[in-house]
Amino acid sequence: MMIRLSAKDNAALSAMTHEEPLIAKITVNPNLPNGLRSQSVLIIHEPAAIPDGFGLVLLAFDGEIANAPVNTVRLSNDIRYLKENDVIKFYPAGCKINVLYRKEANVNTFLLTERCNSFCIMCSQPPRDIDDSYLVDDILEALPLIHPETPEIGFSGGETTLIGNDSFTRLIQAAKNHLPNTSLHILSNGRNFNNLDLAIKVSRVQHQDLMIGIPLYADYSQLHDFIVQADGAFDETIRGILNLKRCQVPVEIRVVIHQENYHRLPRLAEFITRNLLFVDHVALMGLEMIGFAKSNQQALWIDPYDYRHELQDAVETMAKAGMKVSIYNTPFCVVPEAIRCHAVKSISDWKNDYLDECSKCSAKQQCGGFFSWNLSKPSLHIQPL
């Protein structure tokens, strides 16, 4: 079921002493030592006496409450799921809350910027040319609050490197310092790694478990450049991948499959095994029907069933060459049986859903299901196994 990560319809029940937004960790313990309270957010699920001193108190119920201390907010229904160790950003002005981190999530992704130097025809998060440099400071503030046992976090965009080389490396360094046991997955179009200096800077951080996911949509320049709507992008991305691997930074190639490129998929797989065999992972990804993918749906949508032969060919070419290959965002039942072992649950839990008929399927546990927004346009060949 879709989980909302942001809510505006929270209600202040008392005066707010905060002037600036607050980034803090949630606790369910009303008896937290006094010294820790001002930097913590207490969440209460049923009427009770509210202790003093917390930076913020969130009420996750509808009943009346007497003597609410300052900084008490009634939570929107949408985010009452918040739990111990989650991290939020609270905006006192509009009483808005953004959920930055959920301990329960399969992966927590931080948006570094909405700006981008590409304009992909199927972008799920269309870029905005705005000044959102505050995001970097937010993440630097949030990282120390994240639970140290978190298995993986992600950095996403926009184009993540557009925050600048120094900010980019500082964020990776902070992730390493505060979360020494957590893997870090960064999405980038790779074009800025065309500059070897940035690749060197990233490698010098020596993050313990870093992977940079870089899209490559075609085996020749014109088609890739068209898909990302940027001339020269293919060459920059390839040189970026070469530079990163030259510096021994792990790289994942990500291929989103749609009407414009599915027919070259086997060729792209050959191209990768001949030229980029040293990348660490290849993800072949189904289309996420939101953003430009949705507005360009007529031009881009192809039923995964209709490209199953190309998919199988590509997976087998790369797997036989010894590469690690995964199929993302594609329901189990439309992946050819011979390559199902490559299909993984790739969709973040907050936007992951299943169709009604999936409840009858014996493979539901292994199946990655659907993006919530893909439910209205599923493959015509979905069938319970």
Binding site: I121, S221, Q222, D225, F226, Q229, D231, Q259, T273, R274
Partner: protein, 488 residues
Amino acid sequence: MSPLGKRFKLVDDFNQAENHDYHLLPSRFAGLDDGRYLLSNEVGEYLVVDRSQLESYVKKAVDQDSDFYHDLKSKHFLFDDDSNVAIDLLALKYRTKALRTSQFTSLHLFVVTLRCDYTCQYCQVSRQTDDKHAFDMSEETARKALALVFRSPSPAIKIEFQGGEPLLNFNLIQYVVSEAKKLNETHKRDLQFVITSNLSFLDDTVLAFCQEHGIHLSTSLDGNEALHNSNRPRPGKNSYEITVKGIKNAQRFLGRDKIGALMTTTEKSLSQVRSIIDTYLEHNLDCIFLRPLSPYGFAVKNHQTQKYDIDRWFEFYKEGLDYILEINRQGHHFVEVYTQIILTKLLSPFNTGYVDLQSPSGAAIAAIVYNYDGDVYASDEARMLAEMGDRKFRLGSVHTDSYEDIWLSDVLLDTLESSLSESAPMCHDCGFLPYCGTDPVYHYATQQDVVGHKAFSGFCAKNMKIFKHVIKLLEDPDTKKILTNWVR
């Protein structure tokens, strides 16, 4: 197809190639069959094209919107003003293909004795039958050879014990293994040992020794009992029985991956390739190397090599490969090794360590031979030639020459210089060049010339036939699935 939203440009807007012009990248072609050609680039990527496609490619007339154009561009046969990253990638791939040359000598053969209990007619190494200890390698010779072995910069060192029958000088094998391991404590290479043996003397002591040091065994198995015993006679006429018993013991004691077998083709073999392969299956071997007889040693003296020509051998190979593919179709993984080497060259960015298919030749810079008396030869074949009286490829001796003397000797440098296919007549413009190599010792032995006239070269004839055959086999999708599984 429905168009994209108005904010997006069309695919044609992203073609920056001016006037639809393109530049050719280094490539070669060769006739494949009627009207079709193999087009290959410098790093072994290839396309099978027809005459009109080949002409339009060369004349720069390929339609830029065609899949053929995109294939040519993707496989780096051309580049245009839309993209020049092809140059970077080609450079990277060329370095990858040439990596082994830069790593230098990895295979070091120690001929620990020329004595042998067998009397094979085709023997390529001119064995000494009786108890002549004069043909044994001494500890002093071995020690001096080992000092040279570790001068090689190669990160991987393989020491292969050859003969004669090397187990007849087992004491020396033990000495070499122990000394090499001691030396390797400081050199820290990936060190491996192989004993090439007929397994007559494979007793528990030898097996335990192999176990302790992770030593691989390589033996000869020519086919069924009658064929094997006829090809490989020994007193007692029981060589087959001894060999298969040895294989079984080694498999049980050391593990199946620790013992491999090689076969040699004789005239008698030609009609029974299926039976030979069945013998390999019966003895749980998972690959076979269908080898033609090389023109050295007793094989030449006895005119063994002239008894069948390349065409006949190729039919033998083709029938064998067909049968092996059939075995694979039944779900049993079984590999023909020569085909595997060629497939690796065709379908992967890597080259193989196979000495005979390298340019420059692998002589001395991939593999080198230390003979029982300390003489150093450029290859196993060079030693065979010397035993026949022609010491052309003797590079020096461990007793009198330094590492520099040997590896910078005129005979070696001259041989290597003339062994570059890229500059050899009839090779430099051949479409199969990326998969082939040069064999200067073979051409010297057969034509008294290290380059050789390729029109009369059995080496060229054999390899051309195999390349064409394998490339055509790859055109069938189901066969291709099997063959890609063989690539290493």
